[in-house]
């Protein structure tokens, strides 16, 4: 025991000396760099963050540092408390639901003048973002990637799924892995997909039937996808770009995203500039850079999401993706989201 204590003391003496002599500030305290809140997967070496940073720094001479955001809800809550003292300048990875929850709670700069991707480019992708264009909320956020949400199956399975009611086919009983809308963004997309394509009574009945029919409702996309990869489930709620990942990274073409006659809901990722930004001008340059062809290409290749400009996909695996019928992008209010989550919660509690 004595040796162990000596050993521990030694280690801590070294650490203490390092603490005393090290530059405490690191990059986060460096006022000359742009600080960007982004998810862990975005800033990991296989995500788009490092490559975006390198290229942007090379092109502009400005420094970029990422602040890991475990969950936008947690980070933006902290930002709302910090007010003018918030560390970061830009927030990446906001979906339409985060925006509904945090437009009022956090102060954002109007960056609509930086939006370099025109409406015609959205339309070339099959995206209808008219509602986005007309919304005041979205003057403060710029979309940088997107994907439709759909169900993915293995190509060698024989399920014929063409519409939402097809999900209730008897042969699909306990075969589909869903995500719970209370804890997962794709799950919430699905809930609102059902809500927007059927009248309220039909939608509630459909959700009740589905509740008894599904394989499972996972707390996260990763668990649902794990069940699917593990062959516990034959179909999974995921992104239309999921098969591209398997094709590119695993050289496996045995995955297929499904077309739905109702059209698919669209998940769009946005970036916003905090009103408390310290390096606002440089941050605006980064926002423009993310929308550039180089930025969009990096995000597409590393994030496995579609770029806002369809031209970027030409000559890549993303170009092989079929053209899906998409639902118009819809801006949901916080109250509307909460109403459907409450309905879902009641269905799960009472009919689970």
């Amino acid at each position: 025991m004595r040796q162990f204590i000596l050993y521990m003391t030694g280690i801590f003496s070294i650490l203490f000396l390092l603490y005393v002599y090290r530059e405490d500030s690191q990059q986060l305290n460096d006022q000359s760099s742009i600080k960007i809140y982004a998810s862990g997967s975005f800033i990991s070496s296989w995500g788009p963050g490092p490559e975006l940073k390198t290229l942007f720094e090379k092109q502009t001479g400005l420094k970029v540092s990422f602040i890991e955001m475990s969950d936008p809800g947690i980070t933006l809550q902290k930002v709302s408390f910090s007010a003018e003292d918030a560390t970061g300048d830009i927030v990446l990875g906001l979906d339409q639901f985060d925006i509904a929850r945090f437009t009022e709670k956090v102060r954002w700069k109007d960056i609509s003048h930086l939006n370099t991707i025109s409406q015609s480019i959205f339309i070339s992708s099959g995206l209808n973002l008219n509602e986005l264009k007309n919304s005041d909320q979205f003057m403060k956020f710029i979309p940088y990637d997107w994907s439709a949400i759909s169900f993915v199956k293995r190509s060698d399975s024989n399920y014929q799924i063409n519409s939402l009611p097809d999900l209730l086919q008897p042969n699909l009983k306990s075969k589909i892995a869903f995500e719970d809308p209370r804890t997962s963004s794709p799950g919430l997309q699905f809930l609102l997909w059902v809500a927007s394509t059927q009248n309220e009574d039909q939608a509630i009945q459909f959700l009740k039937d589905l509740n008894a029919h599904a394989h499972s409702f996972s707390p996260s996309w990763s668990t649902a996808y794990g069940l699917f990869k593990n062959k516990n489930a034959d179909v999974v709620l995921s992104y239309i770009t999921s098969p591209i990942y398997h094709l590119v990274e695993e050289n496996d073409s045995n995955y297929q995203a499904l077309e739905f006659s109702e059209g698919l809901p669209v998940q769009v990722e946005f970036m916003g500039l905090l009103a408390s930004c310290k390096n606002c001008e440089a941050a605006q340059k980064f926002i423009s850079f993310v929308q550039s062809k180089d930025g969009q290409r990096i995000i597409m290749n590393k994030n496995y999401m579609l770029p806002m400009d369809k031209q970027i996909t030409e000559g890549t695996a993303f170009d092989t993706l079929r053209v899906f019928k998409l639902l118009d992008f819809k801006v949901y209010s916080k109250e509307e989201i909460n109403k459907w989550l409450r309905i879902w919660s009641d269905i799960r509690k009472n009919d689970g």
């Binding site: 025991m1 162990f4 521990m8 801590f12 650490l15 390092l18 603490y19 500030s25 690191q26 986060l28 305290n29 862990g40 997967s41 990991s44 070496s45 296989w46 995500g47 602040i67 890991e68 955001m69 475990s70 969950d71 809800g73 947690i74 980070t75 809550q77 902290k78 408390f81 910090s82 918030a86 560390t87 306990s174 209370r182 804890t183 509740n211 499972s216 409702f217 996972s218 707390p219 996309w221 990763s222 668990t223 996808y225 794990g226 069940l227 990869k229 593990n230 516990n232 999921s242 990942y245 990274e249 695993e250 909460n338 989550l341 919660s345 799960r348 509690k349 009472n350 009919d351 689970g352």
Partner: protein, 485 residues
């Protein structure tokens, strides 16, 4: 008198420490009196059913197996015991996938939740009870042999009543683990998945009501506190409630076979996934630089966590030494990693250095795990040490001398095991680290990042490498401290 005042001060400081997460959150957020009482009752009922059933099954199984296991003389047995702890240490997604792979139709609902929880905690409960039992056997074997008491009688009438405190502790720790789980009830529970942790999650992420979440957490703490006191106050006649099973411990060791099957079920499933992953993944695609950085940070985190653990242990041992009333502290178990993590995220600045990040996360790890580890491994030793500490105090021996010469040598093994488990947690934890908004990459977070970006197979491979590295470290520390267990 001085000692008593210091003791009271120390008790107050410890109480503030253990309650600090909810205090911090309530400082930042206004309490919302529109409290969802119906939802809470339903959630609490579900949590209670799942956790009571799991803790009951695990404990009953352990109580039946431990006497048989204590007679096993097999050089692989210690490794098997260590392996049985893996389900409670690795990410829950691994356990979920392994269990699902054994079922054609998984029994969703309470049954499914209890099944996964039992798989997760049975190894822990057996190992913890086994250790407590072995300590008793070593202490009383001589006396009992003189009176020639039969095996079954000595177990039912002597050891089990003496193990009551350990049984209560293990029971509470398993309950705590079940209460704090979000993913298992949500996935396997259907409507029964609405538990207290989900209520906390909904309050935070959907409604933005952190104060409500904290209020739920406080109510949960006090309910656990009440349950802990109730179980301790009401003398349970363990022997009367243990089913009488004719059990010949001296012949084939049935306990060993059952425990082996349990451990093998998880390990085989786990290794199957790891081997499959090795075949599927091109090893050139692995992210070694990032992984080694994550391992280094986790190693540093383990050192910080262990230091805080030792400081807290010393404080509580001091309270025992001065006979200060502090038993109630042992029940301030904080189950929600979201509440603990976010309170630390609020308390610490975002602009942070490596050392501050390590301090933040290691405080969080101790807030969640310290009392559970202390109750499992250190507290059981006090029944024999307390009288020696009293003698030391009466004869005027100061605390540091008593700690060095009397207490530490007897707690050495328990401390080492607690530290080893904390070491492993430092490498596997991710929920707390993420909620704490840590800017440093740790190995648990690294695994989670892989899993959440299609790379489940790589997650299995890295988890395997982490386990190998951790067990290698265990061997090295054993060499350093000349510890036989």
């Amino acid at each position: 008198m001085m000692g008593k005042i210091n003791g009271k001060l120390l008790t107050s400081l410890l109480l503030i420490f253990f309650l600090s997460p909810v205090v911090i959150i309530l400082y930042y957020f206004k309490i919302n009196l529109d409290f969802p009482i119906d939802d809470f009752i339903l959630a609490f009922k579900n949590s209670l059913i799942q956790s009571l059933a799991t803790a009951g099954i695990c404990l009953l199984g352990s109580v039946l197996l431990v006497p048989g296991l204590s007679r096993v003389k097999n050089k692989w047995f210690a490794s098997m015991m260590a392996a049985s702890l893996l389900p409670s240490l690795l990410p829950s997604i691994f356990t979920i996938l392994i269990i699902f792979s054994y079922f054609k139709t998984f029994p969703f609902g309470h049954t499914g939740i209890i099944l996964i929880f039992t798989m997760t905690y049975f190894g822990f409960s057996t190992v913890a009870l086994y250790r407590a039992y072995q300590a008793l056997v070593n202490r009383y074997a001589g006396v009992i042999d003189i009176y020639n008491v039969s095996w079954w009688d000595r177990y039912l009438k002597i050891y089990l009543p003496l193990l009551k405190q350990d049984l209560v502790n293990i029971f509470l720790i398993i309950m705590l683990g079940c209460f704090s789980s979000l993913s298992v009830p949500l996935l396997a529970g259907g409507g029964r998945g609405a538990n207290v942790e989900l209520l906390i999650y909904e309050s935070i992420y959907i409604n933005g009501q952190w104060a409500t979440a904290s209020l739920v957490a406080i109510i949960q703490i006090f309910l656990m506190l009440g349950l802990g006191f109730y179980l301790n106050q009401n003398r349970i006649s363990v022997s009367a409630r243990t089913p009488s099973i004719i059990y010949d411990f001296k012949k084939m060791n049935f306990s060993f076979i059952i425990f082996f099957i349990y451990t093998a079920t998880y390990i085989v499933g786990y290794f199957f996934q790891v081997v499959q992953s090795f075949f599927k993944v091109d090893l050139k695609q692995l992210y070694w630089a990032e992984f080694s950085q994550a391992l280094t940070h986790s190693f540093l985190l383990s050192l910080f966590s262990i230091s805080i653990f030792l400081a807290l242990s010393t404080a509580i041992i001091y309270l025992h030494y001065t006979r200060t009333r502090s038993q109630f502290l042992m029940y301030f178990l904080l189950p929600s990693s979201t509440v603990v993590g976010f309170s630390l995220y609020l308390f610490f600045p975002e602009k942070s250095s490596l050392v501050r990040e390590l301090i933040k996360v290691s405080l969080g790890l101790n807030l969640i795990y310290f009392l559970a580890l202390y109750k499992s491994y250190i507290q059981p030793q006090f029944s024999s040490i307390q009288s020696q500490m009293d003698v030391c105090r009466i004869y005027g021996l100061n605390f540091s001398t008593a700690l060095r010469q009397v207490i530490s040598p007897q707690l050495k093994s328990s401390l080492v095991i607690s530290m080893q488990i904390l070491f492993l947690f430092s490498f596997c934890e991710f929920a707390l680290i993420k909620a704490a908004g840590s800017q440093i990459l740790f190995s648990g977070v690294f695994m989670e990042r892989l899993i959440s970006t299609y790379r489940l197979e790589q997650g299995f491979i890295y988890s395997f490498i982490i386990l190998c590295a951790v067990f290698l470290f265990f061997r090295i520390t054993r060499f350093f401290i000349h510890e036989s267990y």
